[in-house]
């Protein structure tokens, strides 16, 4: 269901994020509370998280984090239209695209070790684990960062991760409701180059490929086949069992004067489901004074639809692959964000942030974050 899809996401702890932080590693413990809410009483997520980082001498840093997502709400999918007299999935009634309610909790954790060598090259190794009632995910990752010059102005990085997912799919189609364990794997390969442009700008270019194999279908999303015929029925969607994606990421960050930094990130993505997307994410930070930093940003996203997607209930007949999951449709999305950081002293800081996300599909969502970090 939407919930599982929401929760089974790869733990984007971003080796790249760890990489950049590791160069400036410091010990800290941080608690963060994240609240996500969609319009029309759709999905709501409350996610407290705890993270910590500790340097062991000059050559090692260990970082761990844990998050508990409590997810509730409803996501839309084709359902029997009870107003038409329909009461089960395969009958002569009608179908309606409406919300399915759910309630779920997920616990996820990750540990990452940064190892620095004599030449200050770095190796990042990590494990991630996520569990909820009908989804289990384990992943291991490794990335190596190598400085190509003595002044450490240029570096290249290469990383690989391998993830294994176990999904409990429900047999809605025969009405038995029996569950079956399905599996999928995911291999993610990323390579890039970072270049310091001058003493206040940095550029990074990365290419990536993601290979998914196995059960990639959303077991809680439905389609209608043979609508308007004697054999019409509501069945679980069916996605290909392989997905190969490629992409490029360009990042640039620069400081203007002493207090204003600007960061931009463009990502191009394409896969063999015919989904192609462009993402442009921009952030600015302004240090008002030594204690307060203001942040603002916006993100523009656009994607094309998957080649087996159609939202109409009278479209699918005998196609092997079929989905009406809105997330595979063509749409655009905008995000507006703002944040404030307050540094109480050298040890303690607080942060507060808000984001508004809006899709052309009609989905709107807000995200609020509040947290505290203790450095030692």
């Amino acid at each position: 269901m939407q919930l599982k899809n929401f929760n089974s996401i790869s733990k984007i702890t971003a080796i790249a994020i760890v990489a950049s932080n590791a160069l400036y590693a410091e010990n800290y413990v941080a608690v963060e509370f994240l609240q996500y809410d969609e319009n029309n009483n759709r999905v709501s997520v409350s996610a407290p998280s705890l993270s910590a980082s500790y340097d062991i001498g000059t050559d090692y840093t260990i970082k761990a984090d844990f998050v508990h997502d409590a997810v509730s709400g409803a996501t839309p999918s084709w359902q029997p239209d009870s107003s038409s007299g329909a009461s089960s999935r395969d009958n002569s009634g009608d179908y309606i695209y409406e919300k399915q309610t759910f309630d779920e909790a997920r616990n996820a954790g990750s540990i990452m070790l940064t190892t620095r060598f004599e030449n200050r090259d770095e190796l990042y190794t990590g494990i991630d684990y996520s569990r909820e009632s009908d989804f289990d995910s384990k992943a291991v990752s490794a990335e190596y960062m190598h400085y190509t010059d003595k002044s450490h102005n240029q570096s290249i990085n290469f990383g690989v991760s391998y993830g294994m997912n176990e999904i409990l799919s429900y047999d809605y189609d025969t009405g038995s409701g029996a569950s079956q364990k399905e599996t999928s794997t995911s291999i993610n390969i990323q390579a890039g180059i970072s270049q310091i442009i001058n003493n206040h700008s940095l550029l990074k270019v990365e290419g990536f490929t993601i290979l998914d194999d196995g059960y990639l279908t959303n077991p809680h999303a439905n389609i209608v086949r043979d609508y308007g015929t004697a054999t019409q029925n509501l069945i679980t969607e069916n996605r290909p069992d392989k997905r190969t994606a490629y992409g490029v990421n360009l990042k640039y960050i620069s400081m203007f004067g002493d207090n204003l930094s600007f960061k931009t990130n463009y990502r191009f993505y394409t896969d063999d489901w015919d989904v192609t997307s462009h993402t442009l994410d921009n952030d600015i930070y302004y240090s008002l004074n030594k204690k307060i930093t203001l942040g603002a940003g916006f993100r523009i996203y656009t994607q094309s639809e998957a080649n087996f997607y159609n939202k109409k209930k009278d479209f699918f007949t005998d196609e092997k692959f079929a989905s009406s999951d809105e997330r595979l449709s063509q749409f655009d999305a905008l995000t507006y964000k703002a944040s404030i950081d307050f540094k109480q002293n050298d040890s303690i800081s607080y942060n507060l942030g808000g984001e508004f996300y809006s899709q052309s599909t009609g989905l709107d969502a807000t995200m609020f974050t509040a947290g505290m970090k203790y450095r030692f």
Partner: protein, 73 residues
């Protein structure tokens, strides 16, 4: 046509190279600022944000390899 293309590429490469300055290790004070990190001030928030995008959109990747693939979309 090929000659002009080669000249344009060579010129661009030269200009690109000349835009890159050698920054000494002790000149990296600005680059060391927390607001100058690609991860932003709060990687934990970025992680959650990415989590949301991956669950609501059909594309993924580009944020690093940690966590492996995604079974979400």
């Amino acid at each position: 046509m090929r000659k002009y293309l080669l000249m344009t590429m060579s010129f661009s490469l030269f200009m690109g190279c000349s835009l890159i300055e050698e920054v000494k290790p002790w000149e990296k004070e600005t680059l060391a600022k927390p607001t100058m990190q690609f991860a932003g001030l709060h990687p934990e928030v970025n992680k959650f944000e990415s989590h949301i995008y991956y669950s609501k959109e059909a594309s993924k990747g580009g944020s690093g390899v940690a966590g492996g693939g995604c079974g979400c979309n």
